[in-house]
């Protein structure tokens, strides 16, 4: 009798443990790649409309830096960049929708921060775009450093980290400024454009977009100084390592391609290259693609259909776009910036 009760107890404990493990296991999704392949397209959570990063035209065709990144993932998997569906998400719902498996990736100008990784069970595989707070001011002032802004009247949006960073920066550099804060960004811009303040501060990528709408865009410069860290990164669910690695190495393949001089225009030539690092990238040597769960030519597909990092940058936000944002921090580490990808080997 005693043994029987003991056996029952052990049985119950084991059953409970198994159930607990099963529940824990279910909580984490590890099948994103499998589902994506079965579905035949990548679901991308994007910003509903941010010039240069993700914006649809009247016909619903999406363009932008974040959009192209998602197309690159689709190209790596399906050899077809059009196998990406874009789902606009607002800032509040974006992380929840990713956790609820409504999208496979967030490619939505999201800043990578510690708490977002620890609190949301999410993972930011790599930095796609280094943004940060900058300053715009009239060209005629002839100022080329943020350290020369002592005593300026500065327009800033209220209730933002932008405003806090501004205060920190001026305090740290022992400079004074007069703040003009507004609830709405439109009002910040209007105040600056009508000369109510000397300087406008916002994230640099935003400043270039805002400048386009000033009455005389060419009369204003944006300083090269970046005073805060806003590393924008794609986001995936935690613990789906296979999927995370695909997203991470898609970006790194694009950065490595630029560093090695492989572009969408010379990809066929690159496939004949005898340079070992080019061969590993385009898949004529090694089995790096298979190890990712993809094909040998995964990176060649990305470069052919979407381009290398520099091509994507220039087309969407750089010299080939309306925004004309200088490469700055996003230039390769070997050419003045900090974009650095681990090697494919």
């Amino acid at each position: 009798m005693r043994t029987f009760r003991g056996g029952l107890l052990i049985g119950l404990v084991v059953a409970a443990a198994v159930a607990a493990i099963a529940i824990t296991y279910e909580r984490y999704d590890t099948k994103t790649l499998k589902r994506t392949i079965r579905r035949g397209e990548v679901l991308c959570g994007v910003n509903a409309g941010l010039p240069g990063f993700s914006i649809p035209d009247e016909k619903g065709n999406w363009t932008g830096f974040d959009v192209d990144f998602c197309r690159a993932v689709a190209a790596a998997i399906f050899d077809d960049p059009s196998k990406a569906r874009f789902i606009p998400l607002d800032a509040n719902e974006r992380f929840k929708e990713l956790q609820n498996r409504k999208v496979d990736i967030l490619s939505r100008n999201s800043t990578w921060s510690m708490s977002r990784e620890t609190n949301y069970d999410l993972y930011f595989p790599a930095v796609a775009y280094y943004d940060g707070e900058g300053f715009m001011l009239p060209r005629a002032k002839n100022i080329d450093s943020a350290l020369a802004l002592d005593g300026s009247k500065i327009c800033v949006q209220d209730n933002t980290t932008t405003r806090l960073n501004l205060a920190d920066y001026f305090r740290a550099n022992n400079m004074k400024y007069q703040e003009m804060k507004f609830d709405k960004l439109d009002d910040v811009v209007k105040a600056y454009d009508t000369g109510k303040c000397d300087v406008l501060t916002a994230d640099a990528s935003q400043l270039y977009a805002l400048r386009l709408n000033l009455s005389k865009p060419d009369d204003h410069v944006i300083l090269p100084d970046i005073i805060s860290k806003e590393p924008l990164a794609p986001v995936v669910r935690e613990r789906d390592d296979d999927w995370m690695l695909i997203v991470k190495w898609t970006l790194y393949a694009m950065i490595n391609a630029e560093e090695l001089g492989v572009t969408s225009k010379n990809i066929d030539e690159a496939l004949k290259s005898k340079k070992p690092d080019v061969m590993r990238l385009v898949g004529t040597e090694g089995s790096y693609g298979e190890d990712l769960g993809l094909t040998k030519d995964w990176a060649a597909r990305i470069i052919r259909h979407v381009g290398n990092y520099g091509e994507v940058y220039d087309r969407n936000v750089g010299s080939g776009s309306k925004l004309k944002i200088p490469r700055g921090l996003n230039q390769l580490w070997s050419a003045g910036g900090i974009q650095y990808a681990p090697p494919i080997r």
Partner: protein, 197 residues
């Protein structure tokens, strides 16, 4: 001595041109030099090629010049993660080179003596041209090491951002004057090409 150097520069450049002529024609129609053309100073450079302060991270000391031929930019390193950036015109296919050199000599409104090979190709060229606004070398020249190349001005400001030169680096006159006043003889110049496949 000065004329002799110009002659050497142009002779070597012209020889290189002959060697790679079929190649360069395929890549880019040869616009050729236009001696006597008075530069149109109202030409507005593309924003990307206007002189501006930019973020640039490097271990090279302030005062160093870094030329990125693929970007068509010349950086004068300022330190503290920034550089003064100028737009340039660079060597066409067959006239690309890279390396580390120093500025060995500086000249204002340099003279120009096209070599016979160049005259054979472009018979309209003068045999000698005194420095001045119509001179293809423009307002200033900075000689690079013992090479035949230099950083110079231009009387064709609309060629900034293109690859048509014989290996020299050209800036608009206002920019080359600005740069000339900032860099002494001895300045370190690093020329970077895009990687080969």
């Amino acid at each position: 001595m000065t004329k002799f150097r110009h002659l050497i520069c142009t002779i070597v450049a012209a020889t290189g041109l002959m060697l790679s002529i079929s190649h360069s024609y395929a890549q880019q129609p040869d616009r050729g030099d236009e001696p006597g053309l008075i530069p149109d100073d109202s030409v507005q450079l593309d924003p990307e090629f206007r002189k501006q302060m930019v973020f640039y991270r490097t271990n090279e000391p302030p005062g160093t010049i870094i030329i990125s031929t693929a970007e068509r930019h010349l950086y004068l390193i300022q330190g503290n993660g920034r550089a003064l950036r100028y737009g340039i015109g660079v060597g066409r296919v067959g006239f690309q080179w890279q390396g580390l050199v120093n500025i060995t000599r500086k000249a204002e409104w340099p003279d120009w003596t096209p070599p016979p090979e160049m005259i054979a190709r472009q018979p309209y060229l003068p045999r000698f041209m005194a420095g001045g606004p119509g001179n293809p070398l423009g307002a200033r020249a900075m000689y690079l090491g013992t090479t035949v190349y230099r950083i110079h001005g231009t009387n064709q400001p609309d060629t900034i951002g293109t690859a048509i030169s014989s290996g020299c680096f050209r800036l608009v006159n206002a920019d080359v004057v600005d740069l000339y006043d900032r860099v002494p003889v001895g300045t370190k110049v690093i020329i970077r090409q895009k990687p080969e496949l």
